[in-house]
Structure formats: structure tokens, C-alpha cells
């Protein structure tokens, strides 16, 4: 008997960044295209179609690669600008 093909539901998110938060102390953004602002109270990232802005205290970039950014610190607000 031929096996029935099953498809998982797919949501096309385009080039949307994948943002992973660990509490409000750490955030990893995959799909970042660049850092626009780097201050200890505000870090602004470009993710292609929109800008993501993290506000808080003692913010610092822990790791930067071509498409991934890891931010550490006390995050109080996240803002998306499209």
C-alpha cells in the first residue's frame, strides 16, 4: 500500500528575523543584517524589512556574526519599526 504523504502546515514568514528571548536578560536575533546603533541603553538592529530596537540598561553585544546577534543586559522594551 502506497504511503500517504503528509505535509506539515507551512507559514511563509519571508525573511522575518527569528528572535529568541531568555527572560529579559538575553536575546538572540537571527537574520540581522546590521547594527545601526550601539549604546548601553539602546541597541538598534536592521533585519531587512524592519528595524528592531532594544531598550534597557547595561546592554552589550555578546556575539556578532554575519546574520546573528546576541545581546545581553537588562531589557526593558523592544520596539519594531517597519
Amino acid at each position: 500500500m502506497a504511503k500517504e504523504k503528509r505535509f506539515a502546515p507551512r507559514f511563509d514568514m519571508g525573511n522575518a528575523p527569528l528572535t529568541e528571548l531568555v527572560g529579559n536578560r538575553q536575546v538572540t536575533v537571527e537574520g540581522s543584517t546590521g547594527i545601526l546603533l550601539y549604546e548601553s541603553e539602546n541597541i538598534k538592529l536592521s533585519t531587512g524589512r524592519m528595524l528592531v530596537s532594544f531598550y534597557g540598561r547595561g546592554l552589550r553585544l555578546r556575539c556578532i556574526s554575519e546574520s546573528c546577534v546576541e545581546i545581553e543586559g537588562f531589557i526593558s522594551k523592544i520596539e519594531f519599526l517597519t
Binding site: 546590521g34 550601539y38 556578532i64 554575519e66
Partner: protein, 392 residues
Amino acid sequence: MLLGILRFIKGYVVFRAYGKSPERIMNICAQRGVRLWNARPVSDGLQACASVKEYRHIRPLAKRAGVVTKIRKKRGFPFFAAKYKGRIGLPAGAAAGIVLLIVLSQFLWTMNITGLKTVSEERLTALLNDSGVRIGAFKHGVDTSQARRDILLKVDEIGWLSVNICGCHADVEVKEKIKKPELEEDSTPCNLKAKTDGVITKVTAARGMSQVKTGSGVKQGDLLISGVGLTKQNTVRYVRAKGEVMADVISDKELKLDKKYDYISLSENKSSRYQLSFLGLDMPCSLSFRIFPDSVCTQKTDHLSSNGVALPLGIVTETSIELKKEQVTPDLGQAKAVFKKALLLYELFEKNDSSIVQKDWSVKESGGEYRCSASYVFNENIAESVDFSVEE
């Protein structure tokens, strides 16, 4: 931690980026695969760390981004080495130190022996030396199993022995055999007889029939405890008599001391020589050494120790002291002091099993000598076994 060590070995710089938008340098570096760490914003720009090799790539990129970079600190081994480049002695000394460390760690530096009770440490150390386990031995050449077998064959008192070499330290653990209790297997009948004259003070007959009572006087050879007894059936039974018969015994001691005699003592003249002891090798350090015709020699070793462990590095001091001979003419007081000491030694070493009941002593001058007459009453065990044969 490990990453920090690797970065230190490779060398890195702490730099600052100034300009209109210093974040651009981070983006460009990320795109080009240039790794930056500890990036943090500062008042007039951005501060980050980069390895020496990668910092060379950052400068043209920064120029393109319109950012000026400036090195703040240089850290790591390459910079440290460059600082001492002209001083060849330093790396040579470090290399020699490492080689020395490697070479010296191939030898035994310390040895510890534990578990000895009756066997002397000197005897075991000498046997271990014969088997190759000694301070200064090349540790890879030591056959611990063979040494263990040799010592177990040579020393009867040792039941188990283990030689463990850990680093440059040899640990010798010993367990001695438990001695068999001496069992009285001799069943030959015997009597207990008096070995000297005395007045009986106490009779303890463990086996056999007591023939004397407290307060009775006995002569040498008198029967004290008989080995012949009667059974309940009135038949004769022969046993090996055993017991203790305490008696007051009179003992005289005569001592003599010449009025003029030669006395040998240590003089002030001494000569010392030193040897440097290292890993069992003794290297002489002194050139002159005076030898006296009559002398005594002492040897003292001072070892360097660390944390209570004696290291195989020390100074051996050999001292020769001249003996001087002089004529002594003691007066009566001095003679009494000499006799008093001699009597004390007699009581301690010759009559150590006896207790003193009475002691009288006097010193007299007689011709060219002093004479000491001591009269003691000792309380001691006077019983001695005398075997007898039974013939039917």
C-alpha cells in the same frame, strides 16, 4: 578560560573606533568574518578586541567605513616576547629551566617508609638501596616488584610490603608479621629450686606443690615448688612446676677506684669538613681537613625541607674532635660521686627485676685506691627450674 589562554598565546589588541557611525565597523567585520569580542560603546565611539592577525584586516575596512581606529592596549605573548627580543639569556634560561625540570623529575627525590614496628628503618633503607630503591635513583629503572620480592625473602619479620612510586616520591608501606605466642610445649617434669639464699616473702605456685611458706628461710638449692604431686586416686603425678617465689636476698657489691687514673675526654680542637649532598651524591666542599692521631668523628646531615618533607639536597658536616688524655686524682668527695653513679647503674641494669628493700654503702681509702662496699637487700624471684627424670 581556555579561549582566554589561546587569545593570550596568539596575541590581541584592544582598539577604539571613532567616527560618525562606529557601528559600521562591526557590521563590516561581521560580514567579512573578522571576529571581534568585548565590543562595548564608549563615550566617543566603540571599543573592541581583535587578534593581531585580524586587526591588520580591520584597518582598511575601517577606512572604507569612515571610521578611525586606534590601538589602546597590546596584550599577549607575541608582544611580551618582542619586549625581551634582545635578551637571549631569558629564553635560554627558561628553556634550560624546563629541560632541568624534565630531567630532574625522572629521579626519586623523597622516600617515606611507614608501618615499621620491630624492623629498624635503617635496615630496611639499606635493603631498599641494595634493590635499587633509593633517593637519586632513575625512577624508570626501579623494579618495585623485584625489590618487594627480595626484601620479603631477606627479612622474615615482614609479611607484606609495597613500593609505590608516585611522581618523584617513593612510598614504602610495610606490614610486619604477627609473632606466634610462645607455647610451653616442654612437658619434662621439673622442680623449682632456690638459686640463692633468702627469706621468703611471697609464694605463688601456678603448677606443682609449694614446699615453703612465707617467712621461712631457704638456702641455695632448697626445693621451693615440687613437681611431684598426688592425684585424687592417690597416685603420683609428675608435672612441670611453675610459679614465683619472692624472697629478701642479701647482696654485696664491691667497687674500686684508683687514686690516680687516666681520663680521656674531648678537647677543644676540632676540624670540620662539608659535603654537598644532592640526590644521593656527596660532593666535597672543603679543601682542608685536619686529622688528629686520637679523635672521634661525628657526622651531621642538614636537609632542605619543604612542607615537612626532607628534600635530597643538604649539607653533610663531618667533624673530627681531638681526644685528650689527662691524669685525674679524685678526692674522697669526687670518689663518692663516682661510686654513687656506678651503684645506680648496677641497680638499673643488673638488678632491674628486683626491688631494693635496704641499701647501705660506704667508701674507704685503702692504699692507692678508694674502695666502696655496698650491702643491699633485694626482693626478687629466686625460683629456678631444675628438670628431673622419671624412670619406671
